[in-house]
């Protein structure tokens, strides 16, 4: 079978309803074939499709890789490879790059500047640019710069390249949460839930992020409600690693000890594999919290009732029947190591402090 025949077969397969990870595998194959046979048009087309599929699987390192190729193709030949679709995806790129500690701080700043330059070139309102500058500044621990960017973001008018009315407040709540403005974050999140707007991942992430604040305020019934509804929405997704973490932490806080073990077992492999290290760090910090709580309730020797199946990366003694304390210690070490990696990238200790405050 020639490579063109194989490409045609792949396209037919893609037209059928296939789940996102399968699409990614098929599209990667198509890209390899296109590249091997120097067909840039095919390479472009399949990369755009792949990036859209990656939105559902969370393979963000691949997103950056293929986005790089596309942006270079556009710059070399803007007529043949227009940038409109890329501008939208630049948002995902920056959001996820900020969550990877290996992407240097200077690079992140330069990426937002590059995004701004291209958005201006396209005649956009820059609302999305300000939003993403806020996201980057929050993750590199620059509170003042974050607040400035938020102020610009909130007043910029909306256009086709801005995030939708559901995603925007969710991102705002997340960003406020990162710079320690929890009250504001809770208000925004509650208003979003009350509006009943939905999107691909809204309100999934919103429920998760509210849990800690609600418990801290003593709103236990509300917290239980958000836990039940939010977890049902997010448990099956491979991408919502942070949300898994928050629900796990909640189970630990409210003494749902069986759930702590079950949820950890269910989600840890996905969390350890997830390319955005930030999310993994949050998950691990939440696991530390949850198992720490279990251990403190004079259950430090509590093991899971049934043998656990944990991935190899969970390096603790007696992995088949681990104690809460051992898991808490392991999660703590891992989370701290990742926070340190972010600190090194950022040149400050903002992330370590933020992670330590997850209690």
């Amino acid at each position: 079978m020639s490579w063109r025949e194989e490409l045609a077969r792949i396209e037919t397969e893609l037209d059928r309803a296939v789940p996102a990870p399968t699409r990614v595998a098929l599209l990667e194959r198509a890209i390899d074939l296109s590249d091997a046979n120097a067909s840039r048009d095919d390479g472009w087309f399949f990369r755009l499709e792949l990036m859209s599929a990656i939105y559902h699987t969370g393979d963000w390192d691949k997103l950056l890789l293929h986005f790089g190729w596309c942006i270079a193709a556009h710059d070399a030949d803007p007529e043949r490879f227009p940038d409109y679709d890329l501008l939208w995806k630049y948002k995902w790129v920056i959001n996820e790059a900020a969550r990877m500690p290996q992407i240097a701080r200077a690079r992140l700043v330069a990426l937002v500047d590059d995004m701004e330059r291209r958005f201006r070139g396209a005649g956009s309102t820059l609302r999305a640019v300000h939003e993403h500058r806020a996201i980057v500044m929050a993750r590199i621990g620059e509170r003042d710069a974050t607040r400035e960017a938020i102020a610009l973001w909130e007043v910029a008018s909306r256009d086709d390249l801005s995030d939708c009315r559901a995603c925007d407040p969710d991102t705002l709540a997340d960003t406020l949460h990162l710079i320690g403005e929890t009250e504001g974050a809770v208000e925004v999140a509650r208003a979003l839930l009350a509006s009943r707007m939905t999107c691909a991942e809204i309100p999934h992430r919103v429920h998760a992020r509210l849990l800690a604040s609600l418990v801290a305020r003593g709103e236990h019934d509300a917290a239980a409600d958000h836990h039940a509804r939010g977890y049902a929405l997010c448990r099956r997704s491979d991408k919502l690693v942070e949300a898994h973490g928050h629900h796990l932490a909640h189970a630990g806080r409210v003494a749902l000890d069986d759930d702590v073990f079950a949820m950890f077992e269910r989600h840890v492999a996905g969390a350890l594999r997830y390319p955005a290290v930030w999310d993994r760090m949050v998950f691990l910090a939440c696991a530390r919290l949850a198992f720490g709580a279990v251990a403190r309730r004079r259950q430090r020797h509590l093991r899971h009732g049934l043998p656990m199946r944990l991935p190899d990366e969970v390096r603790i003694d007696d992995r088949d029947a681990p104690t809460a304390r051992a898991l808490a210690a392991w999660a703590d070490a891992e989370a701290t190591a990742l926070a340190t990696a972010f600190d090194r990238r950022n040149g400050n200790d903002a992330v370590s402090r933020w992670v330590a405050a997850i209690v």
Binding site: D32, D35, A36, L65, G68, A72
Partner: protein
């Protein structure tokens, strides 16, 4: 201080409601039906009737619509209080139990008529008193109304509502349109609904097929699928009757005739006590049930104010669980009694079935053997695989599968492609449940397991390996030698996922510059520590043995350059610019050498 009252602009309010609360302009049909049915329920509760409700609708064209019921009717003070007060409802009964009998809990329903008509002309005669007078309430869209004694008394207690179409809204009053609206909203209502049009009298209400008796199983199936065809315009594959005590739900789920994906939103048709609530319900069935579309009648769940979805409370969750249980029971029964139908179902819907199997151990135990997988020996059912292989060997990614397939096949073994979403989780679970060995295979582990060569052979090929290392070094690859089948394969290129990714990055960097080159460098930084790729020579291959005897280093270098790239190409690995250069240089070099060498040592070795 003088007290004022807020002036409520009724037109403005109606506009607001019709844009934000009512789903579509013909919602007034639903509201009128609702009022009619509720009026009858009130009659029954007052002990004044044993019969079913009877609703007569007349749509004779000309922009007029008449709704008539034989319910409890209204007395004058009731008219003032309920018809004209927004938000108040005669149906807010004192005890909660009977309140549940009333469909309409919110008094804003009648306002929906103002979306299509400037006047609402209501004649009503109360059943509470013998010889009660017939009263006429005439309400206008500007918020004014008048109550008079009707000059056309009703023969029986009940209510008659007459609407006249606003300009621009006359199509809602066309007989065909009215019929469609009545059928859509009310066909399942426990009421006798009759529509009179220029074509004559027609019954609109029907008993749904899951509540009817059928002469045979075949007849039932026929009726159910016909119903599905009518509701959704689809030829469904199969049907599953559903029931839940929680929420008081009954209905049917239809199996879709085409494959679906998780991402698609559910759109079930849901009725509340026989009245259509929504065609887009997505909360009543579990998320893995995306291979069915359901029609459900709900008695005991609380609707939201918009009356288009339900309050997310514990009863709803219990209902969802019960309905899901109905589907899994059906699947189990199918597995037990009708394998052919199950296989047809699996062929089409293996994604949701696998998703369910991953979550539900019992279900996996049941359907596991029939799940279809892609293997190095073609597609096969899991039970076939298990019959042939004592160990479950699988490739974790599609790419790994592709790389190992020829090797595994050459060894006479079979491996499963578990690169698709739920497959490897299912294999893990199965292995744990049945105590079967599970082995992950990838090109690296397979190559590692190849047989080593003995000391003599190793000495023999050492010069070859040294030259190979020099050729391969710029490409982050090292050479090694093993013996493996097939013997026809001279070499195998093996790269870990990290190394393959770094290769992709480097290839992409050939086109980028400046900022994005740096970004890609950053991206690669965490993976560079991974061991590089390996080119594994096959000592069982004749070409390799001959290469080992080549003494001319320059010649050997060129030969290896070409062999390296050929190995990449055969493995469908895309080449970097450097590698493409290599094959050019290699071939050019070989041509030059053979032209120089004539019948010399170098030329002989090229045969």
């Amino acid at each position: 201080m003088v007290e004022h009252r807020f002036q409520i602009d009724l037109r403005g309010l109606i506009d607001l409601l019709s844009n934000h609360l009512y789903g579509s302009p013909d919602v007034f049909v639903r509201e009128l039906l609702q009022n009619a049915v509720d009026a009858h329920t009130a009659l029954t509760q007052a002990g004044l009737s044993d019969d079913a409700a009877h609703v007569r609708v007349r749509a004779l064209g000309g922009g007029e619509l008449v709704f008539e019921d034989d319910g409890i009717g209204l007395e004058e003070d009731e008219i003032h209080r309920f018809l004209a007060t927004i938000g108040q409802s005669s149906k807010r009964a004192v005890d909660v139990a009977s309140a549940r009998d009333f469909l309409g809990q919110f008094g804003i329903g009648l306002l929906s008529c103002f979306v299509v008509s400037d006047t609402i002309d209501v004649r009503t005669r109360s059943a509470r008193k013998q010889d009660a007078p017939t009263l006429r309430w005439l309400g206008h869209a500007d918020g004014t109304y008048a109550i008079t004694a009707s000059d056309e008394p009703l023969a029986r207690p009940g209510t008659r509502v007459v609407l006249r179409a606003k300009p621009g809204r006359i199509e809602h009053f066309e007989p065909a349109r009215v019929h469609d609206a009545l059928a859509r909203y009310g066909s399942l209502l426990p009421a006798r609904i009759e529509l009179t049009t220029p074509k004559g009298l027609e019954r609109v209400d029907r008993t749904p097929p899951w509540r009817r008796e059928h002469p045979s199983a075949a007849a039932r199936r026929e009726a159910m699928l016909a119903f599905g065809r009518e509701c959704f315009g689809t030829e469904f594959l199969d049907y599953v009757p559903l029931e839940s005590r929680a929420g008081g739900i009954d209905g049917v789920a239809f199996v879709l005739p085409h494959a679906t994906v998780t991402a698609s939103r559910r759109a079930d048709r849901v009725y509340l006590k026989g009245m259509l609530l929504t065609d887009k319900a997505d909360e009543l069935l579990p998320s893995w049930a995306f291979f069915v579309k359901a029609v459900l009648d709900v008695r005991d769940l609380r609707p939201l104010a918009s009356r288009e979805s339900f309050v997310a409370d514990a009863t709803l969750e219990a209902a969802r669980a019960a309905l899901g249980h109905g589907l899994t029971s059906w699947l189990r029964e199918l597995a037990r009694s009708d394998e052919d139908r199950l296989h047809a179902l699996l062929a089409l819907h293996h994604h949701p079935i696998k998703q369910l199997a991953e979550e539900d151990a019992e279900f996996l135990a049941l359907v596991g053997p029939w799940l279809p997988f892609e293997t190095t020996s073609g597609p096969m059912r899991f039970e076939e695989y298990l019959a042939k292989e004592p160990t479950i060997r699988y490739a974790r990614t599609v790419d790994a599968f592709r790389q190992v397939a020829p090797l595994v096949a050459a060894q006479g073994r079979i491996a499963i492609n578990a690169g698709y979403s739920h497959d490897h989780a299912i294999l893990e679970r199965w292995a744990a449940m049945h105590d079967v060995a599970l082995e992950r295979v990838d090109a690296t582990s397979l190559a590692d397991a190849f047989a080593d060569v003995d000391l003599d052979a190793r000495t023999h090929v050492m010069p070859l390996l040294r030259v190979a290392d020099a050729v391969l070094q710029p490409f982050r690859c090292t050479a090694q030698v093993k013996r493996f089948s097939p013997a026809t394969l001279p070499a195998l290129y093996v790269a870990s996922e990290d190394t393959a990714f770094v290769r992709s990055i480097e290839r992409t960097k050939e086109a980028t510059d400046g900022l994005w080159s740096s970004v890609l460098d950053d991206l690669a930084s965490t993976r560079r520590h991974a061991p590089g790729a390996r080119l594994t020579f096959n000592y069982d291959n004749p070409l390799v043995l001959r290469l080992a005897r080549v003494e001319d280093r320059e010649l050997l270098r060129r030969l290896l350059e070409v062999l390296y790239v050929q190995t990449l190409l055969l493995g469908h690995h895309p080449l970097s610019a450097g590698e493409m250069n290599l094959v050019n240089e290699g071939l050019t070099g070989l041509i030059e050498l053979s032209l120089e060498g004539g019948t010399g040592g170098g030329g002989r070795m090229l045969q």
